[in-house]
Symmetry: C2
């Protein structure tokens, strides 16, 4: 019997669970390890340090301009792995599905995950599927966990910023969050806003080739660039000074932010990174980034200073300064 929607029995561990895996998951993600259908993947791992990261994706809506929950779940976890300097190797994917989800919806999302995983060069080697009763979750949540190998020389941490370091941003900010918000609210004036969801491991590899020394690196997702830089400043006990004019914001994103009264500094990104490097290698790193499709708009946006410890200060074109604080309240729930 064929079902057009997810049934509770698809999560029971019985025959329907097995069919769901063999008809939907394996054709998309199948590889030697996953195909064994053991309760765990056993994979080779080279000696050294391992990077491990996990993220639950609960984005609403499931499909949005520029992406969907599927590629977001792959790219987000690949990015968290590679921000340590690690090469992402393996992913685990756990699905919580609401009873009644159309099979075609699941299929579309799995196709998108397949494409994103191939593009990032990672294998999904293990997974899990749970089905909950109608009304007990909102359509679909995906938790992805990533494993990567950290090169011996990498020492990248939010606590490593030093006065004199340069802050580099890989491209425009606010795209993902505004794509979600405007599509959720049906704001037609902002229809051109697209999520920037992308896997950054290729860009990171190019940066590390240019300079093995990167002090700190993160993808500014929830809470936006403001939150990431505040975390850096706090963890390292330094100040950060930004040049507002140097931070790229797409016109359509800026327009939507202005209408909605939102500061793009606090809006989530899903395909951007901010790196902190010694001032003397900044030019080399930016040049390397610009040679990669995901870093074409890379720019130096500020510097690390010894003053104003734990604070992020923004300077505008006229020289006026304001403090960019951590966000206190909720801006955009279920953005990723």
């Amino acid at each position: 019997m064929e079902y057009e929607t997810i049934q509770l029995a698809h999560g029971s561990g019985g025959r329907l669970s097995a069919e769901l895996v063999s008809r939907f998951f394996l054709p998309r993600f199948g590889n030697e390890t996953l195909n064994r259908l053991e309760d765990q993947a056993v994979v080779d791992f080279p000696q050294g340090r391992l990077a491990l990261t996990t993220d639950s994706f609960v984005v609403d809506p499931l499909f949005f301009p520029g992406g969907d929950i599927g590629d977001l779940a792959i790219n987000g976890t690949v990015n968290d792995v590679c921000m340590s300097g690690a090469t992402p190797l393996y992913l685990a994917a756990a699905f919580i599905i609401e009873e009644g989800l159309p099979m075609v919806t699941l299929h579309r999302i799995l196709l998108s995950m397949e494409k994103a995983a191939k593009s990032a060069g990672v294998q999904i080697v293990t997974g899990d599927t749970k089905v909950v009763n109608r009304g007990c979750c909102d359509k679909l949540f995906i938790t992805t966990t990533g494993v990567g190998r950290v090169p011996a020389e990498a020492n990248i941490s939010a606590a490593n910023l030093q006065a004199g370091d340069t802050i580099i941003l890989s491209g425009s900010i606010g795209d993902h969050g505004m794509a979600i918000l405007t599509s959720r609210e049906g704001l037609s004036f902002a229809s051109r806003v697209q999520s920037d969801t992308a896997a950054l491991n290729g860009l990171v590899a190019r940066m590390l080739q240019a300079s093995p020394i990167i002090h700190a690196m993160r993808d500014p997702t929830r809470g936006g660039l403001a939150t990431t830089l505040n975390e850096f400043a706090t963890a390292s006990g330094v100040g950060i000074v930004l040049q507002e004019a140097a931070i790229p914001v797409r016109p359509e994103v800026r327009g939507a932010c202005e209408v909605l009264g939102i500061d793009p500094m606090y809006v989530a990104n899903e395909g951007k990174l901010v790196a902190v490097v010694p001032g003397e290698v900044a030019g080399t790193v930016v040049a390397a980034m610009r040679s990669h499709p995901l870093g074409r708009e890379a720019a130096i946006i500020g510097e690390v200073v010894a003053e104003n410890r734990g604070m992020v200060v923004m300077r505008n074109a006229l020289g006026a300064q304001r403090i960019v604080d951590m966000p206190v309240g909720e801006q955009l729930p279920r953005i990723c």
Copy 2:
């Protein structure tokens, strides 16, 4: 400001997220790696093979006789790692929390996770928290991912069964599933039924000391022992013959199953394992298991045969036979 319940802003990545982590998560799970609060954990890993497993826990109710979603999420993932013969080392934990969850509830569950992780000897090294609007998930879902090191000599797989092998069960079946079901339905006659949730890595280590050769091993969770053995028979292309009288079922579990018309062979366990070993080492392995608190009732329950490929057959005390098939429909949703 102190909140008594989870707010959407606790998941925003801003100040309230940081407070939730520092006041609730770090005091419970804190270790050198987690305390760094990077977006990924970087940990040492010895050369060799790595076991990776992930599971989402959506159990309803959150608290049940014998355990809660917290220890279940730790033990379930530790068990999936160690069933490969691996030593569990690191865990990642991702939380999807419904807006309005009382902080005291979260705190109780985190305490339980802390205790279970310590007891199993694993560290939670990275995590994630998402908050979804009221009505968009049912209180709390936890996805745990486990990483372990597989010893070079281990070769444990559902596909490794051979005719002549012996099937060993570590203890009574049906406890967890019936504890959930009877507590959910408020069946007071079954009040003594307790979940068997437990971490089995200590038991597995003792088994591997007794015999480095174990052909297959799994914890029969969703779908129960019947499903696990059917998966073994199918993956290895062999038949399995069970002796019904040898399979331990607690009287209170048997009683509840009879009243509800449920076969304990299909009911989930969360602290039991089934192992398939060469006939000649079975006695040694059972003796080793019985020396461990979680294996005191270990018993030989059947054998692997060349006939009836892909099938599991149950023999009762009178010699009558019946086929134990894969479950088709949903028996107990949200059991783990």
